[in-house]
């Protein structure tokens, strides 16, 4: 059994042999609000050297042998790693043990969850892993704060402590949140599909029970502008209300409603109920989408000292990302609007596809069912 597993392992490592590398530990700390997500990667070879992993002494370390030592590894880390923020120690507790590969072999991945008294973007780290059994060991630290800013340092036996601080200027912070806003709208395919469903008919008009091409580009732009503006105003309102904590909705309700809004917007292209009121629909459902943006921003975390600036920058980033999509979509759609391909394939086919995908999301989100499309589409 062991031999078979070893062969499988060798197969996985096929291409290049493992590196000969000096001993390094990888410590990553992500600081969001007062909570701290810590990941510590230590080489199995180093842990074998420090606390002994190879219980049966056969020279091969199995998952079973490592698993049996998880409590010891957590205790080892707890006694040799301390993190504080704002002068007060953060309480670290182990949450998971995993395995990862680096260039020189297998590492144990210990995930710790921390609570700090302060949410200021600064930590002090004291790292004393392995130095006694290998004084050339180094701790490679990466510290990430809410807006994505990162600081790195290298800790050694001679200098095992460091303070890391992300003192970004207001301008840097605004730019970071602006980029996160763009990132979010481009990643958030449900928001984009909603907008696209409303924009698909912007280059057409409903006449005598069917779609025909709109006359001028100006008319298409005006129609699109109403929709985008209404959507923007609406989600800005609820985003602000949610971030300030004035209104909060359960995320399952918000996510389900967003999926439903996409279904309805796409269906409206097939059986138009709202012919002229699409801007109104953009406003109404935009209110729901704003709560969705708020939860994304909540995961990102917002600094107390520059809340308004960060919130505004994030929102402007969302708009900029949205306008970029419109700027690409609209001229293309306008050029193709007279073709049957646009009406049949893009409008009808596209709307059917969007409605189906969104329907699956809706079922998944509303009934908490297994994620049918999880592997192919981001939710």
């Amino acid at each position: 059994m062991v031999r078979l597993a070893a062969m499988l392992l060798a197969g996985l490592l096929s291409a290049a042999a493992l590196a000969h590398k000096a001993s390094d530990g990888y410590l990553t700390l992500a600081h969001r609000g007062a909570s701290l997500d810590v990941r510590l990667d230590l080489a199995l070879r180093d842990l074998e050297n420090a606390i002994g992993l190879d219980a049966d002494g056969d020279g091969a370390i199995t998952w079973g042998e490592l698993r049996a030592k998880h409590a010891d590894i957590a205790a080892y880390a707890a006694s040799r790693l301390s993190v504080s923020s704002g002068g007060e120690a953060c309480a670290l507790s182990p949450v998971a043990h995993e395995v990862d590969r680096h260039t020189d072999g297998a590492y144990t991945v210990l995930r710790l969850s921390g609570r700090c008294a302060s949410d200021a973007p600064t930590v002090a780290i004291d790292y004393r892993m392995l130095f006694d059994v290998d004084p050339t060991h180094r701790g490679l630290v990466r510290y990430v704060v809410a807006d994505g800013s990162t600081r790195t340092t290298v800790l050694t036996a001679e200098a095992p402590s460091a303070s890391l601080s992300v003192h970004t200027s207001a301008m840097e912070q605004a730019i970071a949140y602006f980029l996160q806003g763009i990132h979010h709208i481009w990643e958030g395919i449900d928001h984009l599909l909603f907008l696209l469903s409303l924009l698909l008919p912007a280059v057409l008009v409903w006449r005598n029970g069917g779609w025909t091409a709109v006359g001028t580009f100006r008319a298409a732009i005006v129609d699109a502008a109403w929709i985008v503006t209404a959507f923007t105003i609406a989600h800005s309102i609820t985003l602000t209300l949610a971030v300030l904590g004035i209104v909060t909705l359960p995320s399952r309700l918000v996510e389900s409603a967003i999926a439903l809004s996409v279904v309805l917007a796409a269906m409206n292209n097939l059986w138009p109920v709202l012919r002229h009121g699409r801007a109104l629909a953009a406003f109404g459902f935009g209110l729901i989408h704003g709560f969705g943006f708020a939860s994304a921003l909540g995961e990102l975390g917002l600094p107390d000292e520059a809340l308004a600036l960060s919130l505004a920058s994030f929102n402007i980033g969302v708009e900029a990302g949205q306008l970029a999509v419109v700027a690409v979509f609209l001229p293309l759609a306008f050029a193709l609007r007279g073709t049957t391909a646009y009406r049949d394939v893009a409008l009808r086919g596209g709307s059917v596809a969007i409605a189906l995908v969104a329907l699956v999301w809706f079922v998944e989100r509303a009934f908490d069912s297994p994620r049918m499309l999880a592997s192919v589409l981001p939710g």
Binding site: M1, V2, A5, A6, L8, L9, S14, A15, A16, A17, L18, A19, H20, K21, A22, S23, D24, L44, R45, D46, E48, N49, D58, G59, A60, I61, T62, W63, G64, L66, R67, H97, E98, V99, D100, R101, H102, T103, G105, A106, V109, D132, D134, P135, T136, H137, R138, L140, G148, S149, V154, T168, I175, A176, L179, I182, H183, W186, E187, P378
Partner: protein, 389 residues
Amino acid sequence: VAVLRGIAIVVAGLAFAPVAAPAPYIPADDSAVLEMLPERRDPALAALKRLQRASRAAPDDLDVATRFARGAIQAARTTGDPRYLGQARSALAPWWTLADAPTPALLLRATIKQSAHDFDGALKDLDQLLERTPRDGQARLTRATVRTVIGRYEDALNDCDALEGQALPVVVAACRGDAASRAGRAQEGYALIVRTLETGRGDAVVRAWAATTAAEIAQRVGDADAASRLYRQAIALDPASPYTLAAYADLLLDAGQPREAAALLEGKTRNDSLLLRYVLALRELPATDAYESHRAELAARMEAARRRGDGVHLREEARYALAIENDPAAALKLAHANWNAQREPADLLLLAQSARAAGDAAALKQVADWVAKTRLEDAKIRALLKGGA
């Protein structure tokens, strides 16, 4: 910069969103083997591990500690695995910072410092040791080597002279020949080593070292045939030496024989400097998946070395930037940093190549000044200084 980084993060996020990044996982089965320890297949390493346990059990026992440290340094040399140097240093911890450390600890300490490119620290220990015991041949040879590496050739030659009668003739000849060849007496140094190799005694490792030293001189003066013959002789005597394999691979690559270079290095790519040359050889051969996968592996290792930042890999990092990433500006910066640490002909060649590629006249002048001062005979460096490739 923050803006660019932010954009880069966004772009990277978009570009890589659909691709599954390698991520931590939980193995499915308790019997899944995660890691093979090196001692599993090597009885010498298994014995070394037992010695390490003994040393841990009696950390103040100088005799056990030095026996383990000596074995670990030897293991680091034969396997190329730097973790053994760290373990050796750990065993010597009680004597590591002691000003008046016992002689055996002092020699091992200096050897470990030299391996970590702490040449000043190594020299300080060796000076103290040789003052105490001037007839310590091993310490004398180590100091000659360190002095040669940092370009103090006359001082190195003094140590080589003092070795006379304390070491085998082949060792003395290689010591002298190496230093002399870097200071304008290449032919003389080469002839001395080759002549002594033909007649003198010595074990395989020592003779291989002498042959490699002579081969490097021949390679520098442009006698590829002699260099090739001597490298092959050295590899036959000591097949595992990563140093000799790397030097011979460079000769083959320069001679336009990438197939031979690839065959030489195949399966020996745990060592970064050998992997680098393997990738350079594969690049010249018809495209294969092996090239792409080894290049990716090399990139990951260079990134790991850069993050660690201890400077031991600067020579490889500079060559990687120049020859693989095609980034002369980055290569020149790394080659400069490397040159500030060690001053071997290979380091000067890398500085010259990077300077030429980056079109940096000041750096080229620095190379020319060194050549003029030391009278180093190196055909490739001289061609670069004349404006050749």
